[in-house]
Symmetry: C2
Subunit: 475 residues, 2 copies
């Protein structure tokens, strides 16, 4: 029951151990970077999938599923894209004992699987917009150190692909995706910044890329997802064209929106503490754990009360677990805290008789509930927990940023930095060298903290056309 | 708007065209046997997944997900199993430009992915039973002609894997799986026979295999799924052991239960007719389509009524679509019939004024509903449709079987045949030669028709220990 490593000092060690003690994944599968989703981890993932599905379908997207394997010939049609992925794809070269004529790629992402079919589906302006998404696994032959949920070789992936009639419609879809993501992030209690990535760091083949970044302590950031505007960069090589109202044949403008199991990792990384994982109720496999305090002398009254309460809560749609194992209460508290359950309900024999319970939130708030309608009071406590978690997260978030005015200040940054930047690649690279990280880009919408008007470029000192950019160290 | 090919005469042509006109899948993906799930087909599949998930979780199974790729070394541990799959697996041999030291197999099924981990998870009798399932895609390098949903190279697959303390507990899990499947089949309106496969046709590595077979016209059958008892055949090579109450270390007994997207194909194949697909309401992407009859003179009253009715139905949980396109009503009727929508609601301007509608079920029953609570009446009509579909299916099912008393009768069988069989492999092969198909096995539970007591073996004439077996031509 030792505490985890210090999160601020030893973030990666802390993260790995938090994931481990929560039992979200099993890393002992005999292929590096390909982990097993345990029943507990899978539940969180399924709930996350539900958030993504409801969010994207509300914005008018339909689910599809394209094959996992992509012929080499299709994969190589868009040149920038191939260059970006060539070194990190898995190749299927044999079927049974037969060498395949055309090797197949395990999809690293599905542009090259989908777009040949889009070119058949789309004929006329009546076929637009085409908004489809899929939730599938993707594969990357990752050569760096792997980390559960964050850097892996088989990735549970959400990808929307859309075709729009015009550049403006595609830009509007990107903005709509940002609104959808805001809803998902809110449900997870996660603040974020949407950064327009610099030219040299955009997605291979994109016209522009907006990345959704989360600070996770120090200057470290985690990319939670991306929204890309492709313009005609893929529709030209894949010949996705439509006839407009006047009969003219045009190329579609495309967008994509990608999220992944990283959101599970981000939730762990951002909300977790010395005792382990903290789940928001939206994706908590159990929202409530009830621990009856069994008494030899007073009989099973607490256990009966626990089970009856659990049934009432289930009828209200609450995911609840009664821990009636033979372990000591202290061991149970530790277990369910490390696994991130938002609310623990303790019932002793006297409480059972009085119709009260003790509620302890995962943020440490303890209070007595009842007598009265316990299911109502617990629903309220869950809502309060989410509000408190979100408030705590936003307070932490604001402390994750500070302004840097000179390149030398960037060296040992203990926060993500706001820097005034002229926008050139040359100055960008100077900033990246100084912080030993990356220019995350220029935020879309409000800045995470208010630094006033941008001043001279931190690298070249120019004052014209400068803007605030974020610099940090992506994990 | 031509009718489809005759189902009885040209079953495969009919099936392919029914799938095609319904738009359930797109076969134009540039890898043979790997098809695209369109939005419409994906909806049916998602609803089917829901049936499987609710069924198996009600029987105490938990969702997990194991990696797609299996190292060659693990894959080859159980000898019969490897022999069964060696010729039909895809091999990943390269990552980026690197030849992999140990090639990886794309899972054809997950025994060899899961069981090394089960051997870590299971230590004591307290860890049993272990009942877990996953819904994932599996891969087979199919060399025969492929068919959508029926014989493909990337398969949407449901697989439960369990570990039990004893042989009897494993047999009981198999029976429980059969009950679960009965629930799924009932929801699809599909009758079936559970056949204990003959020794020479069981799953590679199984102790016994129970296959769930559906007759689909003539002597043809479709295997809908399987339930296997493995005994210790995998737990020995994978060393999955537990300590029992007395401290003795034993091997677990294992079972599996497999279903797949074939259930979508089976639903099409069994219920479909000259006009196309017929979906039961359980997996119909749209349960109701409303066709307003737009009138130039009477204005949009029918369209308004259609939309209002759709909203009321949605509030009751009905999946409903209003077809307000500019096509002629006849074209709309044809479209939604071919796509299998259980109930069509037509609303003309006069009906809209009178608060009535015309309801036409996909089985051809036409009646006027209302005035009155139309949502209630439509819910009732949907329930009636399912009942009628199931009754029709069971009547058809009984006609799919007949008894054969002599081998010569098997040659041009126009039904699946019940034959009295001594149980030997030699006689089994004679039966298979005669019917130009397979001995499906001995049914578990009641026979599909009542042929009286088994007589002498159809092949050798022995009368001792004979039993009724089914023989047919598996697709």
């Amino acid at each position: 029951m030792a505490e985890l490593p210090d999160k601020a000092e030893h973030f990666i060690d802390w993260y790995l151990e938090a994931v481990e003690v929560a039992g979200l994944t099993d890393k002992r599968y005999p292929v590096k970077g390909m982990n097993v989703w345990t029943p507990y981890g899978f539940q969180a993932r399924r709930l996350l999938d539900g958030l993504m599905i409801r969010g994207i379908e509300a914005s008018g997207s339909q689910a599809v599923e394209f094959p996992t394997l992509i012929p080499q010939t299709e994969f190589q049609k868009e040149k920038e894209h191939v260059k970006g992925f060539d070194a990190e794809v898995y190749w299927v070269t044999r079927g049974g004992a037969t060498e395949l004529d055309i090797p197949l790629v395990l999809r690293p992402t599905s542009e090259t699987a989908m777009y040949p079919i889009f070119s058949i589906w789309i004929r006329s302006h009546k076929d637009l917009p085409l908004n489809v998404y899929q939730i599938v696994n993707t594969f990357r032959y990752e050569t760096k150190m792997t980390r559960p949920f964050l850097r892996i070789r088989e990735i549970h992936f959400f990808e929307e692909h859309t075709c729009q009639a015009t550049d403006e419609a595609a830009a509007a879809r990107c903005r709509s995706n940002l609104v959808t993501f805001q809803g998902i992030a809110d449900a997870l209690g996660l603040p974020f910044v949407a950064n327009r990535r610099p030219e040299w760091d955009k997605f291979p083949g994109a016209y522009y890329s907006i990345a959704l970044d989360l600070p996770v302590g120090g200057a470290r950031t985690l990319q939670l997802g991306t929204i890309h505007h492709y313009r005609e960069n893929f529709s030209r090589p894949y010949e996705i064209r439509y006839e407009d109202l006047s009969g003219e044949v045009k190329y579609v403008h495309q967008t994509t929106f990608g999220l992944s199991e990283r959101l599970v990792g981000a939730t762990v990384a951002f909300h977790g503490d010395r005792r382990g994982v903290v789940f928001p109720t939206s994706i908590a496999p159990f929202q409530v754990v009830i621990v009856p305090i069994i008494s030899q002398t007073l009989g099973p009254v607490a256990l009966d009360a626990a089970r009856a309460l659990a049934e009432r809560l289930r009828a209200r749609g609450v995911r609840v677990r009664v821990d009636d194992s033979e372990d000591r209460p202290g061991a149970k508290y530790y277990l369910w805290e490390s696994r991130g359950v938002p609310l623990r309900i303790e019932i002793g024999p006297r409480e059972a008789a009085a119709g009260t319970v003790t509620a302890v939130s995962r943020l440490g708030e303890k209070k007595s509930l009842g007598p009265g309608p316990l299911d109502e009071l617990i629903l309220q406590a869950l809502a309060d927990f989410d509000k408190a978690l979100s408030a705590q997260a936003h307070a932490t978030f604001r402390k994750c940023f500070s302004v840097a005015y000179r390149l030398e200040e960037l060296k040992n940054s203990t926060t993500v930095r706001l820097v005034s930047w002229c926008g050139t690649e040359e100055c960008g690279h100077q900033i990246e060298q100084a912080i030993e990280g990356a220019v995350l880009g220029v935020p879309e919408g409000p800045l995470p903290i208010d630094p006033g008007a941008p001043a001279e470029c931190i690298a070249c000192g120019k004052t014209q056309d400068t803007r605030w950019a974020l610099a940090g160290r992506p994990l």
